[in-house]
């Protein structure tokens, strides 16, 4: 009888100690950010391999589907690509002259003439790494020098930012997440706005846009570089709908992103911009 009691008490004390330990870890992680090392260690040793292996079946299915379509679509694809190439070459000529002109004008106004130089391609391992938030995992981590807050782009525009990085992999918070607010501007007027995620994957919201703000359908939205979170002038999307309801305080504006956010398999990390942290 006594041993049963002893065992029961032992369990109870372990329980109490572990509760305190959990409270301590929560406090240490939240308040002092001391446990990133533990998190990154567990991530690299256990989560990353499982994540990597578990996405293999999905990739095989995807690859085989693509394989079966390949012959039928290949010729079409080559043709469209050639057309596109021609168009782009012609456009490039125009851009080249515009760029020179821009540089000349900037020299006059003595603004910076910095253009991105170093980029890294990253592969998406898991394009749904959280049940409710829009977070993806990529295969570049601290070993490649990835830092928190780094801007992540697609071929056409902004995709997100790094929020967590371990040695082998890191997590990207997409701009379409409900909790990501991006300081942006309308390139036509230069007016500053904030872009927020929506439930739909390729639509973004503009909260706090005053009624009758100077907006047109098709206006290009790009990052403004305010708050030092994103590099300036990265294209985000264009305005797809405006609803000026006089009853409400703000206009309902929807932005459709250039990038197919969350479905891309390769992303670009840029290096020439480092966001300023509050603590520094």
């Amino acid at each position: 009888m006594e041993t049963v009691f002893k065992k029961s008490f032992k369990e109870f004390y372990t329980f109490i100690i572990l509760v305190f330990l959990s409270a301590l870890t929560i406090a240490a992680d939240y308040k002092y950010n001391q446990l990133t090392y533990v998190r990154s260690l567990i991530n690299d040793t256990i989560i990353y391999p499982i994540d990597y292996v578990s996405t293999i079946p999905r990739q095989i299915v995807k690859a085989s589907v693509e394989e079966s379509q390949i012959k039928a679509t290949m010729e079409d694809k080559i043709k469209t690509l050639e057309d596109e190439n021609l168009k782009l070459k012609i456009q490039l000529q125009e851009y080249q002259s515009l760029k020179d002109e821009n540089l000349r004008l900037r020299k006059i106004s003595k603004a910076s003439t910095k253009i991105s130089e170093k980029q890294t391609l990253a592969k998406v391992i898991n394009n749904k790494a959280h049940p409710s938030k829009k977070i993806i995992t990529i295969d570049k981590g601290k070993k490649d020098g990835v830092f928190i807050g780094q801007n992540v782009l697609g071929l056409k525009g902004l995709i997100g930012q790094i929020i967590e990085s371990s040695y082998l992999s890191s997590k990207v918070l997409l701009i379409s997440d409900l909790n990501s607010n991006i300081p942006a501007q309308i390139t036509r007027t230069g007016e500053k706005i904030i872009i927020k995620g929506k439930d739909k994957s390729n639509e973004l919201d503009v909260p706090f846009a005053p009624i009758n703000m100077d907006l047109k359908l098709g206006d290009v939205i790009s990052t403004s570089g305010m708050a030092n979170r994103f590099k300036a002038n990265i294209p985000i999307g264009k305005i797809s709908s405006i609803n000026n309801d006089k009853e409400k305080k703000f206009a309902e504006v929807t932005v459709s992103s250039y990038e197919n956010i969350g479905n891309s398999s390769e992303l670009i990390l840029i290096w020439d911009y480092k966001p300023k942290e509050k603590n520094e």
Binding site: E11, T14, F15, L18, V19, L21, S22, A23, L24, T25, I26, A28, D29, Y30, L35, V38, R39, I42, N43, I46, I47, I50, D51, V53, S54, T55, R58, N126, K128, A129, H130, P131, S132, K133, I135, E164, K171, L178, N179
Partner: protein, 156 residues
């Protein structure tokens, strides 16, 4: 040795399932909780409190939540099951599913409370409680599959 191998394999599979079912959003069941609860019910000495605390830490890293929050709920759930397994074990599977529902409801409420206390971001209630329902619906499946595994490989 056999015990350890089978149980850790099932936990790894549960973790993989967790990661795969992220696509179903907040409807995806808590596979790890179900598997841990099953093993504690079937073989009470298999998973102790300390092990379940570490499994909780693992869950935290997988979900990207504050380190320690799932660890806390894991030990609370395991402690309740360890203390009551003699009673819960003799219920039918569907009655057990109700117990699981209540336990996971408690767990999600604690997680919601922690998130609300910390308040890193807007809280959406729909993200919290759907998994409780789906988990308890999946309980019979987990129960029968793991019982088959347990009998087949003689885990005791």
């Amino acid at each position: 040795m056999n015990n350890f191998l089978i149980i850790s394999t099932s936990l790894v599979l549960a973790l993989a399932l967790t990661i795969i079912t992220f696509i179903f959003g907040s409807y995806s069941p808590d596979w790890l909780y179900l598997v841990v609860i099953y093993w504690i019910l079937a073989v009470p000495n298999s998973i102790g409190l300390i092990t379940s605390w570490f499994i909780g830490l693992l869950t935290d890293v997988a979900f990207g939540t504050i380190l320690g929050s799932n660890a806390l709920t894991f030990i609370i759930v395991s402690f309740i099951i360890i203390k009551t397994y003699k009673f819960v074990r003799y219920l039918t599977v569907y009655q057990q599913a109700i117990i699981i529902f209540l336990l996971l409801f408690l767990k999600q409420t604690i997680l919601l409370w922690i998130d609300g206390f910390i308040r890193l971001e807007e809280i959406q209630f729909s993200n919290y409680y759907w998994s409780v329902l789906t988990s308890s619906l999946f309980w019979p499946l987990i129960f029968f599959v793991l019982r088959y595994v347990r009998r087949r490989y003689n885990v005791s």
